[in-house]
């Protein structure tokens, strides 16, 4: 193969869009929703999601009939300014065979309670996950209450 053909091939490969895949190849390894302290309208969700496929998967949103809304947020910290910022994230991209971790102080689900309260006694709750290409799947999160010290 000539140098020009190799160069063309490299160029062609670099402009091919990344093929994405549906949600069925995502595994929720751990997922829990922490019901907020009294007075707060927002629960928080943390997770560990693995992409078991050979293609990139893009999560566009989470939803549930049990909550008013679920937004994907990311907290970042500026140590020089000692400032914490929380921002909406439009999508979560999970590379092939990679695991995405949503943890305290980082990526998380900001979950708005319906009428500011949570009345369910279920220990598990199902969230609908919408991926690119309109594919969706259910993920079962564990519901927990933040411990208090007294």
């Amino acid at each position: 193969m000539t140098e020009s053909k190799i160069a063309f091939l490299v160029l062609a490969l670099s402009v091919v869009p990344v093929k994405t895949f549906g949600c069925e190849n995502l595994i929720l390894e751990t997922g829990f929703i922490i019901i907020p302290p009294p007075g707060s309208q927002y629960a928080v969700g943390y997770f560990q999601i693995k992409n078991i496929s050979q293609k990139t998967i893009v999560i566009k949103s989470f939803s549930s009939i049990f909550f008013a809304s679920i937004a994907i947020h990311r907290t970042s910290h500026s140590h020089s300014k000692k400032l914490s910022k929380m921002r909406l994230v439009n999508e979560l991209i999970i590379a092939p065979q990679d695991t995405l971790i949503g943890e305290p102080g980082g990526t998380h689900l900001m979950i708005k309670l319906i009428n500011g309260s949570y009345r369910f006694t279920d220990q598990h709750i199902s969230l609908n996950v919408l991926c690119e290409n309109e594919a969706s799947s259910e993920m079962i999160f564990l519901v927990s209450h933040r411990e208090s010290t007294h």
């Binding site: 922490i34 907020p36 302290p37 009294p38 007075g39 707060s40 309208q41 927002y42 629960a43 928080v44 809304s69 937004a71 947020h73 907290t75 910290h77 140590h79 300014k81 000692k82 400032l83 914490s84 910022k85 929380m86 921002r87 909406l88 305290p104 102080g105 998380h108 900001m110 979950i111 708005k112 933040r146 411990e147 208090s148 010290t149 007294h150």
Partner: protein
Amino acid sequence: MVSEQSNLKRKNDVPSGILWPNPHKIETFDLIDQFNRPITLDNLLGKWSIIFFGFINCPDICPSTLLTIARAHSELQENEVYSQLGQIIFVSVDPERDTSDQLSKYANHFSPELIAATTDIEKLKAITRTFKSLFLKNQNTDGSYSIDHSSGVFLISPKGEMLSVLTYPHNYSMIIERFEKASEFYSELNQ
């Protein structure tokens, strides 16, 4: 002469994480707590204070940090100095939503001894300035808002001096350790 040498030695012996010499002095401020009582600089003087800024609808770092602070406060009851002089304070930077009633319910979840206070925006700006910090309202595209705020835990001496700032992520044992270092150091300086 002996005293100067002694002071120089002390400067070299400053424990890590302690802001010394020339600690920043907290200036006067006005807050109202969950029981509608005024909280001012006078409430800090003569006590050791552990202070955190945040807001009730912050779902991520605020509840986890307050839980950590409350646990440190509880464990520090075994410390003779802290058990007599220690207090924990949460300053809400969201007066628009965080009413005294909300603050009362929220604070009690973490500790019945947690003082939760707020005031109007202008006064909050002044308070965060004196803590060498800031807060910024951030409007989300979905109509909701969040507030960028300090993630530091401030340790204030009985003279109103900022002796230490712990950065995120927080751990209750680190807060305890920092208090112990600071109070021992402070006690030696004031002997």
